[in-house]
Every structure is written in C-alpha cells, then in structure tokens.
C-alpha cells in the first residue's frame, strides 16, 4: 500500500445539491493537491486523496464513511461530511472508531462542547453562532433596537434548517422581535406561497434564510418577484455563494449573506493554485476563474484546517501518517495564528483560530457580505458571536442532555 496521509473527501458532484457541492469539493481537493505538488504533502508526508460521492444523501454518506474509514496506512485522518444529516449519522460511529468529524460551520452546534463530543469539531463557527451574528447585524442596522420588528426565517426543512430556530427564538425573547418561520420542503423548487405570504402578508422587516442548493436561488428569484428588498434579505453562509445569486441575475443585486471567512480571489494561495495546478492542467475546476469563488474558498478553508490539524499532530507525534486518534489530538491543539495564516497565504480569507479540549469551535467570527451583481462585497465588520454569553451555556446544556441520553460521562479537560 502507498505510504502517506490518507485524507478522504466526501463530496456531492451530482444530485440536487451538485451546483454547490462541486465548488466545495474542488476547493478542498485543489488545496490537498496543492500541498502535494508544492510541498510534497504535509511535513513531507504525501497526502493520499480519495473522493466518495454522497449526493448529499445520508445513507450514501454512511456508506462512504464505512468504505473509507480504514483507507490508507493509518485509516482516515478525518471526515468532512458537508451535510448536517450525514454529520448526525456519523457522530457515534466516528467516536467509536476514533476518527474526527470536522463539521465546519454546520452539523450539531452543541458539538462545540468538546467535553462531550470528543471527536467532533465545529470550527470556526456554528449555526447558533451564525444566527446570533445575523441578529447582531440586524440590530445594528436597526439602530440598536429590535423590539416590535418582524423577522422571518426561511429554512430548509431538515435537521440543517432547523438548527438556528432555537437560537432565534431565544433571541426573540431577549430582543423583543417577532419571529415567523417558513419551512421549505426539500429541495425547495416551489416557494411561491412562502414568498407571497412573506412579501404580501407578513411583510417582515428582515428575512433570514437557512437554505441550500436550488432552494437559495429560487428564494432569491421569488423574493424579487414579490418585490421584497434584497438589502433586507440575509442568507446564512450556505446561502451566499455564486450559484445562489447568479441564476437570479439582476434581481439578486443587494442580496446579503453571512460568512465565516472572507471574500478573496487573489491571495497567495490562489496564485499557487494557478501556478502549481491549473498551469499544468491538474486543477479540479473546469475553469481557472472559479478559483476564489465563495464555496471554492470554503473548500480551501476546510482543507486548511484539517491539514493543519494533521500537521499539528505530526509536530507532536512525528512526521508519519497520523491515525484518527492522533489527528483528534491535532485538532484539539490546533492554533492557527495570524502569522501562520500569513505564511499559508491566507490572510484575508481566514481569521485566527484556536481550539482546545473543551472548545471545539475555536472562536471564529462572521461578517455580512453583499452581492453587487459581479462579486461579493463586505457589508459589515467582523462580528463576534456572543459565545461569552448565552451561546456557551446553550452548548453545554444541549450537550449534557445528549450525554445523558447516551449514558456518557463528559471528560475532564483539565
């Protein structure tokens, strides 16, 4: 068997979510390839890359997991399922198999509580943190007072879309706004009634969307069709990429979205991609111009965090392929400082991050960006989610409930 660090990728390049899944997978894959091409792998250990198609489908995700978990000399370093549903399905298995699940900006928010969820990592921000950031932004836009305002949540009617509800409800109690909920059944092709109701009856001050796939572009089109102002329409970070706005054309101009990383096209990492991969025809994307798109960048970020976790582990355990258990250690001791990011050519794309045994989220920040018809432009500063306050309490409470149900005893992190 080939020697190297086995880094399997779960991707969806087919099915209803393919338009969003493809750039994600390309970004992640390209970064891994870049490391191999440019640096000969991680700390000299080549990366063994394998893709498995899940079609954003939970049982195929499980199948991929089972197929790949023992790959390579040491088994899978980590899994990034790119689906909240798959994440849920894998948490127990992966914990039993001692393989980290890296659910970056999705999955179970309470998994940030590392004492219970040893093998799950949520860096840099969870949905709960995201929801909080969105409300903070709205509050600022409304001049600091939300009481009596109407906010609507349009969400993918699945485990994913339901994640922010509790947070938004909690904040509604605190801030005094009115929350109305609009579930959109998968895959979200038909949203006429949702938007007729929003645009002509409820007429909320703001709409937040937790959407994915076609649902996003359909929502933007329908919102435009009922004349809802794009400036007051905020998607979460999975509803704020080029495939979501481009199909809506002109009408998407002004649409906003939450991001946990920056917008950037010409960082060093992108240049490297072009010179080391695309110049030799080794890039995954059809076209060089796709390097630097939002989801592509997100794929890079995902790969950066996971490979840096591997590197951290290697620094500790030695430069050889790491086992899942060792990578878990790497994640928990990951400290991506500004300098490190600069060295990786990522300044502007990522903010610093530091994880620990107890905190698997790492303190990421979020910002609002806006679509101008050509590109995304920052529309706010970096927002710090209220982790010091209610969020960490909520994580702990929810995680403890999980522990109780499963009969787990939280570990001691000191």
């Amino acid at each position: 068997q080939e020697n190297g660090q086995y880094m399997p990728q779960m991707v969806y390049r087919t099915g209803p979510y393919a338009p969003n899944g493809i750039p994600l997978a390309n970004g992640e894959g390209d970064y891994l390839r870049l490391l191999n091409e440019r640096d000969g792998g991680i700390n000299g250990v080549p990366i063994l890359i394998e893709e498995c198609e899940t079609a954003y489908n939970t049982d195929r995700g499980v199948e991929c997991y089972e197929k790949m978990k023992n790959g390579g000399p040491t088994g899978a370093a980590q899994f990034s399922p790119y689906s909240t549903g798959i994440t849920y399905a894998l948490i127990e298995r992966a914990t039993a198999d001692q393989i980290p699940i890296f659910s970056m900006g999705y999955g179970r928010a309470d998994a940030s509580y590392g004492k219970v969820f040893e093998y799950v990592f949520t860096a840099p921000a969870t949905y709960w943190a995201g929801a909080d950031a969105a409300i903070q932004y709205i509050k600022a836009e409304e001049g600091g007072d939300l009481s009596g305002k109407k906010i609507a949540l349009v969400y993918h009617d699945s485990a994913y879309g339901k994640e922010p509800i509790a947070t938004l409800e909690h904040l509604a109690g605190q801030e005094g706004y009115n929350l109305s909920l609009f579930p959109v059944p998968h895959p979200g092709l038909e949203q006429k009634s949702t938007w007729l109701k929003i645009g002509r009856q409820v007429r909320p001050d703001w709409v937040i969307m937790w959407g994915w796939g076609v649902m996003n572009q359909t929502a933007i089109k329908e919102a435009a069709a009922v004349g809802f102002p794009m400036e007051r329409f905020i998607g979460n970070w999975w509803a704020g990429a080029e495939p979501d706005v481009r199909p809506a054309g002109e009408s998407a101009i002004g649409y906003k979205a939450l991001q946990f990383h920056g917008v950037a096209h010409d960082l060093k990492v992108h240049q490297d991609m072009k010179t080391h991969l695309y110049a030799n025809g080794k890039g995954l994307a059809d076209d060089e111009s796709q390097v630097g798109e939002v989801l592509y960048n997100r794929g890079i970020v995902n790969a950066v965090i996971s490979t840096e976790a591997v590197r951290t582990a290697m620094d500790h355990f030695g430069n050889k392929p790491m086992t899942g258990e060792q990578v878990q250690w790497g994640f928990e001791n990951l400290n991506l400082t500004a300098e490190r990011l600069e060295a990786l050519g990522l300044t502007g794309l990522m903010s610093p991050l530091s994880l620990s045994c107890a905190d698997h989220e790492g303190g990421g920040q979020a910002r609002i960006v806006q679509w101008d018809g050509e590109d995304w432009r920052p529309a706010s500063d970096w927002i710090v989610p209220n982790r010091a306050g209610f969020l960490s309490e909520a994580y702990e409470a929810s995680a403890m409930q999980y522990a109780n149900e499963k009969g787990l005893t939280p570990r001691d992190c000191n």
Binding site: P16, P19, L181, L189, P247
Partner: protein, 338 residues
C-alpha cells in the same frame, strides 16, 4: 356527460367556487382575530396559484400524451424535461446558438430520443403489463438523468430567453396595493394554454388520435388491425419530448437548469390524477385546481399546522376528488365488467 359539456360547466363553476371559497375564508377572521384576509390578497393568491398550476399542467401534459397513446405511465417525463432543457441551454450557452436555432436543434434531439426509446425499450416490451412498462420508463429516467449530466455537467445553467420577470400590479384602483401578478407566469401560462389546445385537437379529432387510444387499450389487438405501433410510439414520444422541451424552457427560466428540474414531475402527478390520466383538458383543469388549491391551503391555513403543507396537500386534494371519481375528473371511465 360529454367532455365538452363538462368543460363548459367547469368554466362556469370555477369562478363561482373561487368566489365561494373566498367568502368562506373571509369569515375566518371571526374565528381567529389575527387572520389576515383582504380580497385583493386573496385574488393574488388565487391568480398566482392558477398561473403556477398551468405550469404544472405543462409537465402533466407530457404524461397524458404518452399514457393516452400507449397506456404507459411515463415516469421519465420529468427527466425528459430536464434533458431537453439541458440540451437547449447547452446549445445556447456552450455553443452560442440563437435561441430559435437551439430550440429546433433540441426538438431534433428529442425526436431522435423518441425513436431510440421506441426501438430499444418499447418494441421489445410490447404487450407487457403496464407496471413493467412503467418500470422501464423509470429505467429511462435514470439513463436520461445520467446522460444529460454526463454531456452537459451538473452545474446550474441560467436560462434567460428574455421573458419579463418583474411583478405587475393590476386593479390598483379596486384593491389597496393592487393585485400582484408575475409577468413571466402569464407568458408561460399563455404558452402552455396554446399548447394544450393544439394537442387536444390533434388527439381527439384525428385518425391518429383514435389509433392512439386503441393502442392504449390493447397492444396486441392494435397490432392485429395493422396499427404500426412503431410509428405511433415514435410520434407520441416525440410530441411528448417537445412538450417536455417547452416545459423545460419555462421551468428552466424559472428555476435555472439543473438536476432538480426533473423533480417538477412530482408536482405534476397530482395534477395528472386529478384531471385523469387520459385527458388533455383534464391536465389543464387539474393544474388549475391543484395550483390554486395548494396555494390557498398553504397561505391561509398552512401556518396553523406548521407550514410546508403544499406537497402533500396537492396529493390529498387529488385523492379526495378521486374518491368521487376514481378515474379523475376527465379521465376515461374505468371499465368494470365480467
């Protein structure tokens, strides 16, 4: 009762029932003081529903054609819509062809496809039970989904044939805020309507039409009187393919062209059973009822039970109608004899 008569009755009865339902709903604020109702809004909901319904009909139409003509429940209609749309945008975007040319070329592709399906799938399966043919069309579905995407990829294509997209406000004098309708929907509805009328004529009043119905009843007997199944099937599937193309263009410019487009077929199924598998006008009437019904239900009542009820509501609505007319509103009566 003849179909013509029934259609006339519907034409009269529909506005009346829309009004009556409106009256009923307008009484809701008596029960729930937060209930939102204005006549303008109600009309908006109804028109939106009707216009969406017509688009469902357009997809349902493809099903009807093939069912009527061969007794095959063509599950691949949705895939054909996607396939046609993929080729259409593919020709436009990747090859840079003029829309009209792309349309013609795609129509050609669909005809080719129809001939292929006839040769490879239908001919060897002649005289097999309906469920087997149904299954075969599911096979076709997979094949087309795979083929279309292998050729053109699974990205979203934006399909813009220059139809207007902005909302339009009617009757602003009568209702506060006017009644908002979508121009695009109107264009689509007109196209669908025209299509239906032409097809209804073609199939009801020509020699071919009769032969098609004969084939649907009994393949073997149709063969025995000399009806060339080969040609008939190639024709029908071609027409269904072209209907699929039109539906693909309409839905594609609404939703963008990508995999999920095939799923609009699921929205056409309740339309289909409500109208009756065998009736072209039924597809339209069914579409209107389902479209308006599901929108009214979702918008006015969905909130009470958590929302997102459209999908099953359409099916339930269709089922309720079926309990009274098991063959659908305009379907051919199911013959029960010993």
């Amino acid at each position: 009762m003849s179909n013509q008569l029934r259609i006339a009755l519907w034409a009269l009865g529909a506005p009346v029932s829309v009004g009556l339902i409106g009256l009923l709903i307008s009484a809701m604020p008596l029960i729930d003081s937060n209930f939102f109702f204005t006549w303008g809004y109600y009309l908006e909901v109804v028109t939106t529903g009707l216009l969406t319904g017509v688009l469902y009909s357009l997809v349902a139409l493809g099903f009807v054609l093939i069912f009527k003509a061969s007794g095959v429940f063509n599950f691949s209609q949705g895939a054909m819509v996607l396939f046609a749309a993929l080729f259409f945008v593919g020709f436009m975007d990747k090859w840079g062809l003029h829309p009209a040319l792309a349309f013609l070329l795609t129509a050609g592709v669909m005809i080719l496809l129809a001939m292929l399906i006839e040769r490879v799938v239908l001919r060897p399966l002649v005289n097999q039970p309906a469920i087997i043919l149904f299954m075969a069309t599911i096979g076709i579905t997979y094949f087309l989904d795979g083929l279309g995407q292998t050729i053109w990829g699974s990205d979203v294509f934006t399909l813009d044939i220059g139809l207007p997209k902005d909302p339009m406000f009617l009757m602003e004098g009568t209702f506060e805020g006017g009644v908002m309708v979508n121009q695009f929907d109107i264009v689509a509805a007109v196209a669908a309507g025209a299509m239906v009328i032409v097809l209804a004529f073609l199939f009801q009043y020509t020699r071919i039409g009769r032969a098609l119905r004969a084939v649907a009843d009994d393949h073997q007997a149709a063969l025995s009187v000399g009806i060339p199944l080969k040609t008939i099937w190639a024709i029908v599937w071609s027409v269904a393919g072209i209907v699929g193309l039109v539906a693909g263009v309409m839905w594609g410019s609404k939703l963008g062209v990508q995999f999920s487009l095939a799923l609009v077929a699921l929205k056409a199924l309740p339309v289909l059973i409500l109208g009756g598998f065998t009736s072209v006008p039924g597809a339209i009437v069914g579409g209107l009822i389902i479209g308006a019904g599901e929108k009214i239900a979702e918008i006015f009542f969905g909130g009470y039970i958590g929302g997102g009820i459209e999908d099953w509501f359409a099916y339930m609505l269709a089922m309720v109608f079926l309990l009274f007319r098991p063959q659908g509103l305009f379907g051919e009566k199911i013959i029960e004899r010993v």
